[in-house]
Symmetry: C2
Subunit: 288 residues, 2 copies
């Protein structure tokens, strides 16, 4: 399929990401429907024109209208939703998601799905420290990465359509990764960093230090303001990779600590030079 202005799009789950998807798509003239558990959320999106219509109940006729369905739900809710409601989905529809872990979702969904439907995983690497539709913003995708995670079960057409969706949403960089490589990468770049921020923020009572904070501490703890329900679920769904990345970091941290204990200036300086060198790569890309 190719996404065009006749493509009817349903966003299931209108939180921070679902709301931002609805806003971005409707602002470009796409017909967007929304499903959410609470009436206030549907009203919020309707009032702003982010959705053309919406439902809080599982209306078979409503669900059956859409050509493209985006699931912006917590991982477990996505599986439950499909089990109950995939019977109502329009024949031949394309399904995708926004979940931050992939192995545990993609294969299970593809296995359980009706044979005329196709599911292709995607991860919009955008977010904010505050959740909920009231923090939605169609512009959060502008400088962000969008990763499509196809498997052998996916058609080239579905992969193309999913990448096209990323373009429409305005992502700066669109790429594909296997679910396995995605989960390794996200375990390191995203989940490990959140673990570090949470531990730094909670390892001591820093109240008396508030007046002396510099940018370093603020930068390293920005993401310590965290959605505990979502992230604890994501951590467990990627447990093997995350624990491995935590082990890697911990070993390096212990090495540096030992350098300090041993007055090993050469060891410290070598690690810092390597760090400075590696960090440069990330600067160049940021300024693209």
């Amino acid at each position: 399929m190719t996404i065009n202005k006749d493509t009817k799009i349903l966003i299931v789950g209108l939180g921070l990401i679902g709301g931002s998807y609805a806003w971005a798509l409707s602002s470009q003239g796409y017909e967007v429907g929304g499903m959410a558990r609470r009436n206030e959320v549907i009203d919020y999106a309707l009032d702003r024109g982010w959705i053309a219509h919406g439902r809080t109940d599982m209306d078979p006729y409503y669900i059956g209208q859409f050509d493209l369905i985006v699931f912006a739900l917590y991982p477990q809710s996505l599986l439950e939703w499909l089990e109950k409601n995939q019977q109502y989905i329009k024949k031949g529809a394309l399904l995708t998601d926004v979940t931050g872990v992939k192995r545990c979702i993609v294969y299970d969904v593809q296995k359980m799905l009706r044979s005329d439907l196709e599911f292709i995983g995607a991860h919009p690497m955008a977010g904010r420290e505050s959740s909920g539709i009231e923090n939605a913003d169609k512009d959060i995708f502008k400088n962000a990465n969008y990763i499509v995670t196809p498997t052998d079960a996916n058609s080239p057409q579905a992969i193309d359509a999913c990448m096209q969706l990323g373009k429409i949403l305005g992502f700066r960089n669109i790429s594909t990764l296997t679910p396995e490589k995605h989960d390794e990468m996200i375990g390191f770049l995203s989940q490990l960093t959140h673990c570090i921020a949470v531990c730094l923020m909670t390892c001591r009572d820093s109240e008396s230090f508030v007046d002396y904070t510099g940018d370093s501490f603020r930068d390293l703890t920005r993401i310590a303001k965290i959605n505990d329900r979502m992230w604890s679920e994501l951590f467990l769904l990627n447990k093997d990779e995350l624990v491995q990345q935590m082990d890697l970091f911990e070993r390096q941290f212990q090495t540096l600590k030992q350098y300090i204990i041993d007055d090993n200036t050469a060891g410290m300086r070598e690690m810092m030079r390597c760090s400075t060198e590696q960090r440069k790569r990330f600067e160049v890309r940021k300024d693209d």
Copy 2:
């Protein structure tokens, strides 16, 4: 003493911080002299009017003119400079510094100093990822903290003058701490955060991940670009405190890892809620 337009100020060491001090002070009409090891650095500062005059050699007559001397040197260089040259300093002059560790500097300097001179420690909590006078900027102090670290050897007049210097330089927040409390605080807020950033940046080859980086990883590794000579020296000069802060962080990190291994959702969520709560304090202050 009170700093006024007749106060002749010498900055010893014209790197990032020394250069920024010279610029900030001269732009407000103070007569600033500079000392550096290289002629090009003196010329750079003279060309821009940041200093009125400068020297690369130890000219006794030159050193003897100044009422206020600010040492913007590496910790060990500061002690060596004073051992050789304190004999030339003007009678009754006030000395201060910009060093990021305090216990190991302040007491040693105060002990070795001529009885008519007074040294009072100060830590301007401002910086950049790039060092050297060419990165100096008189505005880096505007949103930053300035901490004066008096001891029993200091007079109220010197403490006042040092805090006045912080005001003239434009710091947002000026306060006092004992050298001991300062070093504990800085071990946690600044040194530990730099250790974490360096270890995160170096614990694996992240080259293949460059295209997938989100803001989290960029934020947590901004300070991984680090002056290895300066920071390795600072780490060792605060070794006891830093290692203690590293231990605290490491224990918390291991606790979180165990929660993940054990599928302990309640434990994770409790730590994340605490983290979210604690982080709020730092936001309010930032927006002051």
